[in-house]
């Protein structure tokens, strides 16, 4: 069985309003409800965006944009108990767009000036302290194609079910399963080869 995801920060010392109720309030312009949803889920979304973008780029902007999209998207939420998976879907979509925009711009600059697009630099302190296998895995995850990566991160690291991920990404569950299968196979192969 899949291990439970990391514990999530939840309301402390305050009566929790259901997500659907908060989203309904957000849709009608209640900024307090938006703040409550941010308080409830910001750590999840931050961690997810960090995992999807290697912690580089504009993580804060993507987190902010995820919640900023809620007043507009709240009406399409289907009313289930938790909107966490749905928020995750919005966040990975925004991260993908940001990534594509940045990559496109880098390619354009490189083509103009015949430069090589630079990759993100790792934190030297973390590099030095990390174990070799973890570093290899981190690189392999970073090299994984986006869709495989989002399936792996959402299912295996964030602990969402196939159905939740399918719903969040608006793709059939079989597609998620296929992506996850390929993602894990590639990651296993990298580790088995001992790529560094």
């Amino acid at each position: 069985m899949r291990a439970a995801p990391a514990p999530l920060p939840r309301h402390a010392g305050r009566e929790a309003r259901p997500d659907a109720e908060l989203l309904s309030a957000v849709a009608s312009g209640d900024l307090g409800a938006l703040g409550d949803l941010y308080d409830r889920y910001h750590a999840d979304i931050w961690r997810l965006v960090h995992r999807m973008t290697d912690g580089s780029g504009e993580v804060d902007d993507i987190v902010q944009a995820t919640f900023l999209a809620l007043p507009r998207l709240a009406t399409v939420f289907d009313g289930r108990d938790s909107c966490r998976a749905w928020l995750c879907g919005i966040a990975v979509g925004l991260a993908a767009r940001q990534r594509r925009g940045v990559a496109r711009l880098l390619r354009r600059i490189a083509s103009f000036g015949e430069m090589t697009p630079t990759t993100t630099t790792a934190d030297p302190e973390r590099e030095a302290g990390a174990r070799e296998e973890l570093r290899a895995f981190e690189r392999a995850l970073a090299r994984l194609p986006w869709k495989k990566r989002e399936a792996f991160v959402l299912v295996e690291l964030e602990g969402l079910s196939m159905a939740e991920v399918a719903h969040a990404l608006r793709v059939p569950a079989g597609t998620v399963r296929t992506r996850l299968f390929h993602a894990k196979r590639e990651l296993r192969q990298v580790l088995a080869r001992g790529d560094r």
Partner: protein
Amino acid sequence: MKRECDRIWQVDALREGALSRKDAESHERHRATCSECRDRFAGDARIVALGRALPGPKLDEVRVRRVRMQLLRKAAAGASSLPRVRWLLPALAFAAAASMGAILTHRQAPVAPVRVAPVASAPGVSAFSASVDGRPGARWDQKRDGGTERVRLEEGTIALSVRHQEPGERCLVDLPDGELEVRGTRFEVTAHDGRTRSVQVAEGAVALRLRDAPERSLAAGEAWKLDDDTRPPTPRPRAAAVATSAPAAPPVIPAAPSATADAVDEYTRAMELYGAHRWAAAAGALHAFTASHPDAPEADDAEFLEASSLAYAGRPDAAAIVAEHYLDRHPHGFHARDAAVLVARSARDRGDCAKARAVLAPWTGAKASADVTAALGACGR
């Protein structure tokens, strides 16, 4: 070649919690004796453990509060777009300076927009599925034999509006040097001096088969000219596909950060239609989404799901054309095999076994799956 353990799939099913208790226990007993399943299980557990061990974001109270404050301020102001990359302007300035010479020396001629005149309904041809509007000087005729309708173009330009073909129906345009197969569309074709000169598609899709040239699919907004014969078809501005009254393809809306929420809305609506099995509406909505947001991460899913919707809607030929487009754009995409199945089924049904076999070649062989074998049908024997 070593054959994979028949029960290896249970490793994933077990992790998903999809096995019954009895099956799970059975698999665990099996794993104790099967090194392959054991290795797979351990390998999966290892990569998940490593993933969870990766350092997370360093969230401090100030950072969290700063973003919260900005969020609420922007929400109050009605902003909804993804903030621009902070170094965008300096980078663009650099790019502009670096590219000045290149821009001056590599100016491309503007691409002429596709223009298709509105097709008039021809009186007295209601028995036909195609309404043909011949331009001055055009020589053409039209006949129907059972479920097959043929428009023969000898010379000049004709514009056609063809209703969707029912199962068992075909509509073909005989050209001096080939043929066009139509699957419900609006397009214009020109022939001159025994050669097909151009095809411009306003709606739907056509398959162009010319002598001594591979079949090519043209979708809404695409054009082919004889001069382009050595080049691939023009990039696909698909925005015109769902318009039913506009005479020419509207401009494509480029994807931009500000379009993010629109894209999410559109895709959500399209998937709701898909989930509700409203196949024709879903196909239209998915097509419109791909046209408006060709660079969106969901675009390749949308394109395949459009093909899938068309197939469910009972339009296998149209599904095949869209699926073929998908394969052109995403030859190694997640849906490549399923798209190839759609293309192969259509090819098989019209007796084009060579094409059916070719498109499924990567997935045939000793381990061909049941759907691949079924798609080939008699063509596989």
